[in-house]
Amino acid sequence: MSEKLIILSTLVLLPLIPAYLLFKLLPASGEAKGMLGGLEVKFGGAFAGYIALTVFLATFFAHNLNGPAYRVWRINGALQFEPGAAAPDSDDISCQLRAQKLNVDINPGNTFNFVLPMTEDDLPLLVFSANGFEGQTVNTAIEGYGGGIYGLRVDRKTGLVTFEKPILLKKKSTGYQPTVAPIPVTGG
């Protein structure tokens, strides 16, 4: 019961603060006129200030509540398999986009080229894998990821992500000989 009373009181009293401030601060002789929604309007005194403030706030919040801007990004690049190793069948090569949970086709010639609607904050992790080769993850959100070995360029103006150098997948060696003992901290 008391909770309802507090909410009701707040709803009634809170709008009085800006209303009082507008009434005190704006001169009664003030006037605002112009076009609003195709109609010519003319307001005076504190009410003119109230309308101007409401229109400003409504425009401001409408703009900011729209959320982040999506655009279509284009991502281009190529894969290269370690020289001397037999290239895998195209069916055995995959490029997965993490976060987006999408699989992208690798073209003949081991190139990839795809478009993705997303925000700048959602630039994906590209997870490349191929049978018999060591997998590789490339983070397109980090400028110059990999210390330049991929030649990764992200053009935010045109929405273009380009790998200027091929992504080299190394052949899996058979020499996996664990020497590092993982010491559990939690969980496992």
Binding site: L125, G135, T137, Y176, Q177, V180, P182, T186, G187, G188
Partner: protein, 103 residues
């Protein structure tokens, strides 16, 4: 003078390349034999921060490249489990981490 600068740059580049390792490991299910595909593995260093994750492949193998030697926290995450370990990355081409079991 120019030659000396080039030589020093070259030496530093070689030194930097030589002192990065590929952390290689395997993620398996609790039975110890079945590979866990898709597990995300990240490394965290006190000063260098957190790495981009690597994902276990069909054989459960993961590869984290260009990791400077040192002590790291390794996090292995699956849909159902998260396991955290401490590892020491060695100054060699591959630092092979013993298989880790996750649910």
């Amino acid at each position: 003078m120019k030659r000396i600068i080039i030589l020093i740059t070259l030496i530093l580049t070689i030194a930097a390349t030589a002192s990065a390792s590929t952390v290689r490991g395997k993620v398996v299910k609790p039975d110890g034999a079945t590979a866990y595909r898709g597990a995300a593995v990240t490394l965290e260093h006190a000063e260098r921060g957190r790495s981009t994750p690597a994902y276990a492949d069909n054989d459960g193998m993961f590869y984290l490249r260009n990791v400077p030697p040192g002590d790291y926290t390794m996090e292995v995450q699956t849909a159902n489990d998260k396991a955290v370990f401490r590892i020491t990355v060695l100054n060699q081409e591959y630092s092979d981490v013993a298989p880790v079991k996750v649910k």
